[in-house]
């Protein structure tokens, strides 16, 4: 009981507590950091990254000799279904382009082999079975289309 009286008294006198202006400045800084983090994340999200020539296509379900958009997803990925619909639309619009969805929820081996750390991640695989580009996050359809347009195989096909 005495302790509670002491606690109440200390709150009233405000001694030892963080001063109100300092606390409000800390809160404003927290909100500012969150907004900046969100803007940076949005700016980086889904950008095209360089590929790596060689890729082990085991268990990815890719048809050799075709252009494939390999999308890595998990069950906890809220943004994957919208990317799946978009990539399926791209695949439907181009002959010679496949969309493959790989669920990594129970496949840590595949996530490790391809160094996928977040979902959605999309790999663009060329007709020569090389990794042409990676898109980490939700890619823009225009970025996918422009990358496809650079491929000689697709230009011949269409």
């Amino acid at each position: 009981m005495l302790r509670h009286i002491g606690l109440v008294r200390s709150i009233r006198t405000y001694r030892g507590h963080m001063p109100l202006p300092s606390a409000l400045i800390a809160l404003a800084a927290l909100v500012a950091i969150a907004v900046i983090a969100g803007l940076l994340w949005r700016a980086r999200d889904g950008r095209r990254r360089a590929g790596a020539d060689a890729i082990d296509l085991t268990d990815l379900g890719v048809t050799s000799g075709r252009i494939s958009l390999v999308q890595f997803s998990t069950e906890t990925c809220a943004r994957c279904p919208q990317v799946r619909r978009m990539l399926q639309g791209v695949a439907a619009a181009h002959t010679g382009v496949d969309h493959v969805d790989v669920d990594l929820t129970h496949r840590p081996d595949l996530a490790r082999r391809h160094r996928v750390l977040s979902t959605p991640t999309t790999f663009l695989i060329g007709t020569d079975d090389t990794l042409i580009a990676r898109f980490i996050g939700a890619p823009r359809r225009s970025d996918i289309e422009s990358t496809l347009a650079e491929l000689p195989a697709l230009q011949e096909a269409s």
């Binding site: 509670h4 002491g6 200390s10 927290l30 907004v35 994340w41 379900g61 977040s118």
Partner: protein, 192 residues
Amino acid sequence: MTEPAPARGIDPRAPRFGAWITSVLLLVATFLGLTGIAAQSASFGWFAYQPLADATFTGSSWALPAASPGQRILDPAFLLTLVVALLFLWGVVSPTTHPWSTLFRRVVRPRLAPPTELEDPRPPRFAQGVGLFVVTLGLVLQLVGVPLAVPIATAAAFVAAFLNAAFGFCLGCQLYLLLQRAGVLGRGTRAA
């Protein structure tokens, strides 16, 4: 390889609506944490009023290690964070009956156009679980007398909830594979 279709989809705007309310609660909890006992220094304040309470304790510049369990629990920041933790738990156990979900269904959705598509309920549930883990960690650390644990935990949870509400950031997208790589979850069938 494709995931099974969810039995019942949810309106994708419902979790974002809930994330706004959760962000506000977590920001208030962080404010209470910063101005409360978790961030209080020992040199002044109630410590001076209670020479008999845990008198053997010396050496810390913080008030919390010398506070009684009752003082650690009756801290307003602790109590509000406990409420947020229970709401996270509710979101994990029964997302469809969650208060924010109910509020969205009854009040917000009738004023909006019908959703263009329904989403899988598992990702927001995963995010609620992560939120539950983070704020519970803060509560437990405050109970054992670690200063600043509650405001740091609520600030971290605030950033995630705010990014979800304002930017569509998804914890399940960013964290699942990292936790899987760390061996925490999702081991399961390992072919090859």
